[in-house]
Symmetry: C2
Subunit: 204 residues, 2 copies
């Protein structure tokens, strides 16, 4: 229970209604909020400060969606360690090329583009510059996921829950996809090279 106090202190959770100076009542909203916080924290891997940003953004009815997501997406990269070398430049070029080739209507300053460039630059530095050859397959899959996500939100969710749902879908959806990818990876690998030994999880 002290954890809840902590969340209230950090602004993640509104304080309970005070019936008396020392008696607060928590209700439905708090419970739901708490579940959301735990999910974003445990499954989504966000940090509390980011969650605080996202939640205040969700609560602000006039907040445009992309700003909420901007607050949510900072959990990746954002180290702001700009390498500014050959690989980074090349990666940025690849990204802008990809965006224009796909006709993606995205704000050119989107942090996601910077994250993408950073990841590609890192691969290039590791001798995997040729990874860009599969970028379009990745992009196809990403589009498919984005479409699925949007369709789900569009048909399942009322307008007032929209923002929260998109946040949930984006953050938890990433965890879902990540797990699926690993499963598919195992299967594809088994398909190509035949199964290897038994599980025997011994990872320290």
């Amino acid at each position: 229970m002290p954890t809840i106090k902590y969340y209230v202190r950090e602004g993640l959770l509104p304080p309970g209604e005070l019936t008396s100076p020392n008696q607060a009542t928590y209700g439905e909203v708090h419970e739901r909020r708490l579940r959301l916080i735990r999910a974003l924290l445990d499954v989504g891997g966000m940090k509390v400060a980011e969650i605080a940003d996202v939640l205040t953004a969700i609560d602000d009815p006039a907040r445009p969606l992309h700003k909420v997501l901007g607050a949510a997406a900072d959990r990746l990269g954002a180290s702001s360690v700009e390498h500014d070398d050959t690989e980074s430049a090349a990666a940025h070029a690849v990204v802008t090329d990809l965006v224009s080739r796909r006709g993606w209507r995205t704000h050119e300053a989107d942090p996601a583009a910077a994250d993408l460039a950073k990841a590609l630059a890192a691969m290039a530095r590791l001798g995997h510059g040729a990874f860009v050859e599969v970028l379009d397959d990745y992009a196809d899959a990403a589009e498919q996921v984005a479409r699925a996500d949007l369709a789900y939100v569009g048909r399942r969710v009322s307008v007032e829950d929209m923002v929260e749902s998109v946040v949930i879908g984006t953050v938890l959806g990433e965890a879902v996809f990540s797990a699926l990818r690993r499963l598919a990876h195992v299967d594809a690998s088994a398909q190509r090279y035949g199964a290897d030994g038994p599980p025997e999880p011994k990872t320290s």
Copy 2:
């Protein structure tokens, strides 16, 4: 430079060849290793202990691939906070159903399956149990990504670099896909609801 000493201490980086008791020489291998560490750390978001596991696994030539990846994939979930409630049970059922429906040859104890179940359970607890309706779209995309990844590794990489390449592909590929997904999301959203305001990044 003290960071390198730290990595050596943690077993991420082999100590340099000692030419004299106080003079060590670092070479090509160390540089490459260091780049790999930085990539896994900064872009992949792994922690140093996990990276240590993965690197020792990579260095062990007799290590089956899936164990290396097991060491790598623990970065997600793994909180071991088993909820053991209705949602968890339902989520597990959904996962085993999905796996069998897809015919995925995966070890049933694969931690990825547990992560997936955890994520789905979290969504269910947030009132988004209907998210499973789009699971197959997600799975399609995941299969596509896995195929692309495997094809890349299969045609680009020599056998001795295979394990390392798969790790890089899995970890950094996740960052790549995540960024692509966010970009695609913005585009799909613009397509569906028309563009909203200008970027103006003001995220705290």
